[in-house]
Symmetry: C2
């Protein structure tokens, strides 16, 4: 069990920011990343459809023998975490609960902002997760549908994206939040800009670190950490457009993304 890889999936390349943190924290673990680039982004899709995609991919990863699955995508976590946990034999970790926990710990005035895709915000998952940890917290959410496109174009600074960020954050800042959850795995690339717009009084929560911590805890508690000193392997899979993933992968994760394998969508669709 200990030598088996961890499976990580996302609608595209954003989850690579989560994989980066898992690599850094757990350098002995082999990792398989699957980006559903043929069907992503999930943000604008219906929750029911995203849930089905998540179930299919989790089943595909289980068939590859992973020991744990990370849903490194806020939309897929919001839509499908519960169903995937019910259907899988291995433990499944999403990105929402760890981020919510980080925010609840960090806030002083208990006024928490959340930005994410439409699907994530509509699901109210962050609100539920935060209230379960602190029933007295106030949560202010905002969908930022254009930010993913800016990031995917590599446009993480400049007047245009700054104007968009400012427009999205203003209503949240007016509510005097002191913590802001980056509720989309693309947003860490905008962290310098978001930090500048939000100001020094607002703490930014990047779930990726919290997720890596959670994966570590879970493997340790179960005695499933890889203790071997042999080098781990990393595999990058996508369902389409691997050149796009190699190019963005270097930006989202680093030079390790040098080879990407394409998985025919037919191998995944209808598995569930």
């Amino acid at each position: 069990m200990n030598h088996r890889p961890i499976g990580i999936f996302d609608s595209g390349v954003g989850g690579l920011t989560v994989m980066r943190k898992i690599m850094d924290r757990l350098p002995r673990e082999s990792l398989i990343y699957l980006g559903d680039t043929a069907r992503g982004p999930y943000g604008p899709r219906e929750l029911g459809e995203v849930r089905l995609f998540a179930l299919e991919i989790a089943s595909y990863l289980e068939s590859m023998g992973v020991k744990l699955i990370v849903i490194a995508c806020n939309s897929a976590t919001a839509a499908g975490l519960l169903e995937v946990q019910r259907r899988c034999r291995v433990p499944v970790i999403g990105v929402i609960e760890p981020g919510a926990r980080g925010a609840v710990h960090a806030t002083l005035n208990r006024r928490i902002g959340v930005i994410g895709t439409r699907a994530t915000v509509r699901s109210r998952s962050y609100i539920r997760a935060i209230r379960a940890l602190d029933a007295g917290a106030r949560v202010f959410s905002r969908a930022c549908p254009t930010l993913v496109d800016f990031v995917e174009r590599g446009e993480v600074e400049g007047p245009e994206v700054e104007k968009a960020v400012r427009g999205y954050l203003q209503p949240l800042l007016r509510r005097e939040i002191d913590v802001l959850i980056l509720g989309c795995t693309h947003y860490p690339l905008l962290q310098p800009l978001i930090g500048k717009v939000a100001g020094a009084r607002v703490t930014l929560i990047n779930s990726a670190e919290a997720v890596a911590h959670e994966v570590d805890n879970k493997l340790r508690a179960r005695g499933h950490s890889n203790e071997s000193t042999a080098s781990p392997y990393y595999r990058f899979l996508c369902t389409g457009g691997k050149e796009h993933m190699i190019r963005l992968g270097k930006m989202f994760l680093g030079p390790e993304v040098d080879k990407v394998e394409e998985v025919p969508l037919d191998d995944i669709v209808g598995r569930f």
Copy 2:
């Protein structure tokens, strides 16, 4: 803020097992413990009544200037955590969520047992907390109403208490649980006996350690840890029968419980 004490309360002396772990992990923090010995145990009481008691005591501790409150009592957490979080200005941590998290991390077959008082089991709080972390986990709960009395009599071994423990655990063991949550702060004193009856294949989860970890994380994230090297102070308060608390306190916490102050119930009742 950093020098202010942490407030901890329980229906009686059980929460001292939680205080012990907080003292060990955070040796620089001053702590005020309040045991509601005049009205405890809470286990057999109605949830609504326990919720009111929890609100009154939390308000009393806030008036003493604490920077954080720990509800070191499963029954009071189950009955009142959400309301207390809503009404208090300082963060409030209960014992149920940290224990649920420890169990979800440790289980391999995702079959989790919970033992506690009638009030705790009836509230279904552990089931909710576990399912929020792993929707695919199976939870089997059992109320063990006589165990608190055994512990308070100092009877933590011997044929009579062993027979009681065996009777309570048998139905859970038959469901093949591999993790058992000690869902009452009295039960850590029975841990050797419970471990013997449950067998080596069952991991016991004592929430106290998980709670201390959570308190540490919360204070650090907020920059509220006490960094001073001056000695912290410990105060032990109860609402009645302080000789009882001194005697049991040495068993539940250690020699530090040498002086207990009685708070008139009138100072607490009606605060809320």
